[in-house]
C-alpha cells in the first residue's frame, strides 16, 4: 500500500488518497457534518471502447457491451444485489459513459456493510444464458425509450456526422442489433479484462475513516491483478467533420439545433486549462452575458437556453457543442459564424473574462456540494491522469490570452450542423 497522502486544494475540502497493494486507488473526501455517505466504484472502461489490446493481443467487442455488463452485474450468484443494499437502507445505481462505467450507492447508515456489498457485486460476476437474455429485453426497452427523446436522436446524428471513424460516435447503449451479439462468455471475458483493481477507482464521500474504508476493501477482496487493457481508437481523423450537415424530421414543435466541431487531441497536462478556457471563452462570446446572446434572444432566434459545452471524456476526440431550439436556425448559424470571426480578430475583453471567471468559480464550487457530481469529476479526471481538485488552482493562473488562444482554434468551416426539424 502506498502512503496515505492528503490532496492539497484551495476549496477547504479534506481529501486523501491511497493506492492499495492490489492496485486500487481510493480517494476519500471527508465531509464532516453530512448525514449521508456515498461511494462510487468506477472502471476505466466505457461505451466507446470497441477495440482494445492486452499484451499486443487485439480484441473487438460489439457496441453496447460496457453498458450491458453494467446491467448484468447487478445480479450475482445469490440473486439481485438490490436487496442486499435495501436491507441496509442504501440506494444503489450505476451508469456507463463513453469513457467509464461507475457503480455507486448512497446511504445514511451501515456504510461499511454497503461498501462491502458494492465491491462484492462489482467484482463477482455471475451470468447465465437466461439472465443475459432477460436483460437484453430490458435494454431493448431502454434503447426504445432513448429513441423517443428528440435530443438523444439529434445527439446521435451529430456525433455520427462529426466523426467518420472514431469510436466516440458509437452508442453507449448499443443498438438492438449490436446487443444481440452479446452473450455470457463475452461478458465474462470483458469483465476479467477491465474490472481489475489497477483499472478502477473507489471514491468515498462522507464522514468516514479512511482506515476502515481500506480494511473493508481489503476484506472484500477485489479480483486479481492483471494487465491494464489499452483501448484502441481510430484516431486518424481529419479535423473537418465527416459530414457538414445532417437533417431528420420528428414530431416536435420547433427545430432543435446542435452544432459543433472537433478539436485537436489533448494531452492530460493541457486538459484543465482547455476546459476552463472553453467555458470562459464561449460564455464571454456566446453566453447569456454576451452581446451575441442579447441580440439573438431579442430577435427570437432561440428560446431560452443556448447550451455550450466541451467534451473531453476521451482525450483523442475532444469536441465542442452548441445547442438550442430555434425557429430560424440558418439565421442563427450565420450570426454565430460572424461573431466568431469578429472575436477571433478582436479578442475577448479583460472585463468580460474577469466576470466569467467569477461565474465559473461559483459554478465549480457549487458542484462540490453534490457527492454524485464530485465523485464523477474525481473519477473522470483520475482516469485521464489528472487531479480534479488541483484544477481549482487554475483560477489564479488563467488569463485572457489563454481564452483568445482557445477561441482561435475554432474554424467555422470545421463546424458540423445537426438539425431535427418538425414534420410538415
Amino acid at each position: 500500500m502506498t502512503e496515505l497522502k492528503n490532496i492539497k486544494n484551495t476549496v477547504n475540502e479534506n481529501v486523501s488518497s491511497v493506492k492499495l497493494d492490489n492496485g486500487l486507488t481510493i480517494i476519500l473526501v471527508k465531509k464532516d457534518g453530512f448525514s449521508s455517505y456515498f461511494a462510487e466504484l468506477a472502471v476505466n472502461y466505457g461505451g466507446s471502447v470497441l477495440n482494445y489490446k492486452i499484451d499486443d493481443k487485439n480484441f473487438s467487442i460489439p457496441e453496447g457491451t460496457a453498458h450491458f455488463l453494467e446491467h448484468q452485474l447487478f445480479t450475482n450468484e445469490d440473486g439481485p444485489c438490490e436487496e442486499a443494499f435495501s436491507e441496509m437502507g442504501a440506494s444503489p445505481n450505476a451508469f456507463t459513459s463513453p469513457s467509464m462505467t461507475a457503480y455507486h450507492f448512497e446511504c445514511s447508515r451501515n456504510f461499511y456493510e454497503n461498501l462491502a456489498t458494492l465491491i462484492n457485486f462489482v467484482s463477482k460476476p455471475y451470468f447465465t444464458a437466461e439472465s443475459v437474455e432477460k436483460e437484453r429485453g430490458i435494454i431493448a426497452q431502454e434503447i426504445s425509450m432513448s429513441q423517443n427523446r428528440p435530443s438523444y436522436r439529434l445527439y446521435r446524428n451529430f456525433l455520427n456526422s462529426l466523426f467518420e471513424r472514431h469510436e466516440i460516435s458509437s452508442a453507449v447503449l448499443g443498438t438492438v442489433e449490436s446487443i444481440s451479439e452479446v452473450d455470457a462468455e463475452l461478458l465474462y471475458r470483458v469483465h476479467s479484462h477491465f474490472y481489475i483493481p489497477s483499472n478502477m477507482l473507489l471514491t468515498v464521500c462522507g464522514d468516514v475513516e479512511i482506515e476502515k474504508v481500506i480494511e473493508t476493501v481489503e476484506t472484500a477482496k477485489l479480483s486479481a491483478k492483471g494487465h491494464i487493457p489499452e483501448p484502441v481508437y481510430s484516431v486518424e481523423e481529419s479535423i473537418r467533420p465527416f459530414r457538414r450537415e445532417t437533417y431528420e424530421t420528428a414530431d416536435i414543435a420547433a427545430t432543435q439545433l446542435l452544432f459543433g466541431c472537433k478539436l485537436k487531441d489533448l494531452s492530460p497536462d493541457e486538459t484543465h486549462l482547455f476546459e476552463y478556457a472553453s467555458f470562459l471563452g464561449l460564455n464571454a462570446v456566446f453566453g447569456p452575458t454576451s452581446d451575441f446572446f442579447y441580440e439573438n434572444y431579442n430577435a427570437g432566434l432561440f428560446r431560452s437556453s443556448f447550451a455550450l459545452s466541451l467534451d473531453t471524456g476521451i482525450l483523442s476526440a475532444p469536441y465542442l457543442t452548441f445547442s438550442c431550439e430555434s425557429q430560424k436556425p440558418e439565421e442563427l448559424l450565420a450570426n454565430f459564424t460572424k461573431e466568431l470571426e469578429r472575436v477571433k480578430l478582436k479578442g475577448v475583453k479583460e472585463e468580460d473574462f474577469r466576470r466569467c471567471l467569477n461565474a465559473l468559480f461559483g459554478r465549480e464550487l457549487h458542484s462540490l456540494d453534490s457527492f454524485y457530481d464530485l465523485s464523477y469529476a474525481l473519477s473522470s479526471d483520475f482516469f485521464k491522469g489528472l487531479s480534479y481538485l488541483e484544477s481549482f488552482e487554475l483560477f489564479n493562473k488563467i488569463n485572457v490570452s489563454d481564452i483568445n488562444n482557445f477561441l482561435r482554434l475554432i474554424e467555422p468551416e470545421h463546424l458540423c450542423v445537426a438539425q431535427l426539424n418538425p414534420k410538415e
Binding site: 465531509k31 457534518g33 448525514s35 449521508s36 428528440p150 416536435i252 414543435a253 452575458t289 468559480f361
Partner: protein, 425 residues
Amino acid sequence: MEIRKLELGPGIRLTAVSSDKFKSSRFSVSMLSSLDSETVNAHALIPRVLLRGSKFRRNLTEISRYSDELFGLNVSSLSRKYGEKHGVGLAASFTDAIYLPEGYVAKIIDFIFELLLQPATKGGLFLPEYVESEKSKHIEALKSIKNNKELLAYFNFLSSMFEGETYAINHHGDIEGCEKLNYISLSKAYKKLLTFSKVELFYCGSLSSDELMFRLMMPLAGLPRAKRIDIPETNILYAPPREDINFCFEKADTTQGIVYLGFRIGEYFKTADLASLRVFNTFFGSSISSRLFKNIREKLSLCYEIYSSYDRFKGSFFIFAGIDFDKFELAKNAILTEIQAVADGEFSDEELSMAKKVAYSDLLSVLDSPGKLESFFLAMNLSGKDAQPHEFAAACMEVGREDIINIASSLRLDTVYFMTSEENK
C-alpha cells in the same frame, strides 16, 4: 444545522436552515395562490418577465452580467403545483457567504428582491416588448411539450383523470390563455399576486436566522400585503367521480408505449399519515427493491422504466411504465395483480423492512442538499406539518404491515391511459 420557521408579516413565512457545511446557498420566494384557469397563465408568465429586466438592471444582459459578478448567482423562475395551489416566484442558488467577499450576500438578497419587486416598467406597467417576447417564448415552450412524449402523455393523462376538477389545470398554463395576456393585464395580475398570495421564503446557507431577518427587513417592507389572505384547500375525491374506469387511449409518434394508471387513494387518505404513504410508495414502486421494479421489470422483463408516485395534497397515486406496444394488457394486468397481492398481504416483513430503511435513508439525505431541503420544507409547510427530515425518517421506521395493506386495499382505479404509435392497432 439550525432550522427556524418565522412569520415575517401577514401571510409571509420564512423557513431558515442555517448551516455552514455547504458551499452553495439557496434562497427562494414562492407566492402561493389557488390554481385557477383565470390566473394560471399570468402567474406562470410573471416570473419570466421579472427576469427580463429590473428598475436598475434594465435588460437581460445587465441581469446576467451582474449575476456573474456575484460569483455565479443563478436565479430562475418558479411555477410549481401543490395539489390545487399554484406556487410561482424566483429561486436563487449562489456561492455561500463563507466563500464570498464581505458584503456580497447582502447584495445578492437585495438583487433578488429588486428582481421580484422592482421590475423594469413604464408608467407603472411592465414593458410591452418584454411581455410579448416572454409570452411568445412561453408559448413555444408549451408547444414543445409534444417533443417529450413521456411528458405529453403525463399531462394528457392528468387532464383525462381529473377532467372537471381544478387539479386538471396545467400549472404552466395553456397556449390559448397565454395568447390573451398583454402588458396591462399582466401588470394587474402581478400587483394582485404580490398583495393576495401567501409567501413562503426559504433560505439555506451559513447566515444565522437573525442575520437573515435583518437582511430581509428592508426588502420585505416593499411587499404590499392584504390584511387577510386565504387560499382554499385542495378538494379531495376519495372515489373516482364516475362509475366505470376511465380509459384514455392516444396515438402519437412514439417509439415506445406509455402507460399511466391513476388511482384515488380512497378512504384511507382521510386518516393517512405522510410517513405511511412515503413507505408505501417506496415499497410498491419508487425504489429498486420495489414490487414494480422486481416483479414487472426484473422478473417479467416488461419494461426498462416503471415507477409509482403520489400526490400528498390530492390523495392520488400514479403508476408509469414504458413498454412494447403489444404488451399493454399484459403490463396493466400484471401491475393490478401486484396491487391486489399487496392488499391481500402477500409480502414479507423483510420486503417492508427494506422499504422502510430506504425511505429512512432517503429522508436523511435531504439534510445534505439545499435544494432537497427547500422541497421538503415547502411541502411540509403546505401540508400543515412541522416535522423535520430526521423526525419524518423516524416515523417511516414505525410504519406497519397493516398500513401497507390498508393503503393498497383503499386504492381505487380511476384512469387507465395508454399512448401508442400511429401504426399500432
